[in-house]
């Protein structure tokens, strides 16, 4: 299966029975949509900045908060789940009446001190408060901000999100005095009302409008842009709409087109964001815009998460991919071959921790830096990828669960989960893997060499070769972060 095939299968799994009723693109439609987007991108390309391998684009600067997100040093605390609005695009379950306590990455942080310990332990540089509607927990947020500032000083950037419904000057001043650096308004939740935005401008250092790019709201947003600039809005962050189990029906009612990526983004939303950028540039409005695509979130936010925790569960004989998955290489062959490889490792200068022989499984695990010591021309290879995961409790079944003591009353656990494994029996495939992902050779050259050298003795071997090609292509999902906006299909 290719990476594209894998993405389509994942989207099918994620959307379940609804997949058939949702609007997806045919191959021809995808080509035309990509062409349309390329034309739009070309028309703005010389006036926009590109961040994080082109996954984020827009005119002007990024907020310091957005920089911490891209660099993987951002923590977002969901302070509550209750909300004053009921937006059609909300990814959360709005039917749940019971409010949820503060959580981050699935961990409960009801005590501000525990949260500060967590921030300090993992060296976060940016913190935000989201919800629900965070102003419903205004006092609680003040408490968290004060505790963060007390312990971590000015070296950490703090912002919060709001729909503006409960904002008043007194609350804003209290937040500013506690140490809030930035406030972000979702004006799409308040019919594009800029009153609360204007009120904040006089109090908070940095004011951002952060909204999903809603195709039907393009005209109303266009009218707001000069007013935002005039009142001193620092950034306009445009998100790509994403379908969750709680909002996909609303999206279907609006006849949106869904794309085969994790979190199921909406095609028309991306096009709307790019059109807004073009409008701002064509009319010299001078607003800084950050288009925050779903592909960016999938690539950079998730990589940031893995980078933070991988070292706690990665073993010395394991490597790390560009997108921060733990990579484990293994050889399982005859005892004679295994002994030969072990001898090669022992006779090299390599540190003893860089390989491990699992006697029970008869499997030799080794770091990718040792791959050159063995002869891939004759041997296949197993590759496994793991992702770190935070947990509240210790997984007694797993020997890979590591306790992180935050303070005398609170521990959290980092575990690892195998996300993919594959076996490459063909030596040409294994060699191509090495060249593509470890030596980072030119992909076109590697694939040419793969096609030329793959041993084909019978017509049936063609199928095997194409399966191996797809297997290599699929590994990009764990090996490479990827650049630019997402491929349309």
């Amino acid at each position: 299966m290719t990476k594209k095939g894998h993405d389509i299968q994942k989207a099918r799994e994620e959307t379940g029975w609804a997949y058939c009723d949702m609007k997806w693109l045919s191959e021809g439609e995808a080509r035309r949509a990509a062409l349309k987007r390329d034309t739009l991108l070309q028309s703005i390309s010389d006036k926009i900045k590109s961040y994080f391998k082109g996954n984020k684009i827009g005119p002007g600067r990024l907020s310091p908060g957005c920089m911490t997100c891209g660099l993987g040093t951002w923590s977002c605390l969901f302070i509550c789940s209750a909300c004053t609005a009921n937006c059609f695009f909300c990814p959360q379950d709005r039917k749940k009446k019971k409010d949820r306590p503060p959580t981050e990455s699935g961990l409960l942080f009801d005590n501000p001190r525990d949260y500060v310990d967590y921030l300090e332990r993992f060296k976060f540089r940016g913190v935000s408060f989201s919800g629900g509607e965070p102003f419903l927990k205004h006092k609680k947020i003040l408490d968290y901000i004060r505790k963060i500032r007390e312990r971590l000083g000015e070296g950490i950037y703090i912002w919060m999100y709001t729909n503006g419904d409960l904002v008043d000057k007194g609350k804003l001043i209290a937040l500013k005095e506690a140490g809030l650096n930035e406030i972000r308004f979702d004006i799409a939740a308040s019919h594009y009302d800029l009153k609360a935005v204007g009120m904040s401008r006089d109090v908070i250092d940095r004011v951002t409008v952060e909204i999903p790019a809603i195709p039907e709201d393009y005209s109303v947003l266009k009218k707001c842009l000069p007013r935002m600039k005039a009142m001193g809005v620092d950034h306009l962050n445009l998100h790509q709409l994403m379908a969750s189990p709680y909002c996909y029906k609303n999206f279907m009612d609006r006849r949106y087109t869904f794309l085969h990526q994790a979190n199921i983004p909406v095609l028309e939303s991306e096009m709307t964001a790019l059109r807004v950028i073009k409008h701002v540039l064509d009319h010299d409005i001078g607003l800084s815009i950050n288009y925050c695509s779903t592909i960016y979130k999938n690539r950079f936010q998730k990589t940031g998460y893995r980078k933070r925790f991988e070292s706690l569960v990665r073993k010395p004989h394991e490597g790390l991919t560009e997108s921060a998955f733990i990579r484990r290489l293994a050889f399982r062959g005859s005892p004679v071959e295994t002994r030969k490889f072990l001898k090669a490792f022992e006779e090299s200068d390599a540190h003893r921790d860089l390989w491990f022989f699992d006697k029970e499984k008869g499997e030799l695990l080794f770091h990718d830096s040792l791959l050159n010591l063995i002869d891939l021309d004759r041997q296949g290879l197993s590759v496994s990828y793991f992702s770190p995961q935070l947990a509240e409790t210790h997984d007694t079944k797993s020997d890979n669960s590591k306790e992180i003591v935050l303070n005398s009353r609170r521990s959290i656990f980092v575990q690892r989960k195998c996300v993919h494994e594959t076996k490459m029996d063909n030596p040409v495939t294994a060699k191509s893997f090495q060249e593509l992902f470890l030596e980072k050779k030119n992909a076109d050259d590697v694939m040419k060499s793969f096609y030329r050298n793959y041993e084909l003795r019978a017509k049936s071997d063609i199928h095997e070769m194409m399966s191996d090609r797809d297997r290599l292509d699929l590994l990009k999902a764990w090996e490479i972060t990827g650049s630019g906006l997402g491929e349309i299909y």
Binding site: T2, K4, G5, E27, A30, R31, A34, D444, M447, K448, Y451, R452, L456, R457, A458, K459, D461, I462, M466, R469, D470, D473, E487
Partner: protein, 103 residues
């Protein structure tokens, strides 16, 4: 704009294709699709297709290649020319060949 396929033109294998032989079989493997993906399957050629492919080296016009192959396969020149035009159109659509400078 798509240019018309004519017998006077020269064609050559594109850089995005690799040819492989497996016993009596001959196949062309597209290295990329027009969208940059890798979902193109190998294209297996029969004996005539293989001879045509090998004749598409950019040095001769389709007309000259058809004349040579008509003799080799003992078929009327007109039939070979028609077959070649159809085949070349197909290969062009798959980006497996390009128009050569000699045209």
């Amino acid at each position: 704009m798509k240019s018309e396929v004519t017998l006077e033109k020269h064609y050559a294998a594109s850089r995005v294709a690799i040819a492989r032989e497996i016993g009596d079989e001959f196949m062309i493997i597209p290295l990329e699709t027009s969208a940059g993906g890798v979902d193109n399957e190998p294209y297996i050629l029969n004996r005539t297709g293989r001879a045509i492919w090998q004749g598409l080296d950019g040095s001769k016009s389709l007309k000259d290649t058809a004349a040579e192959l008509a003799v080799r396969f003992d078929v009327p020149v007109k039939t070979m020319e028609q077959d070649m035009l159809e085949f070349v159109k197909k290969l062009l659509k798959m980006n497996l060949i390009v128009e050569a400078p000699g045209s």
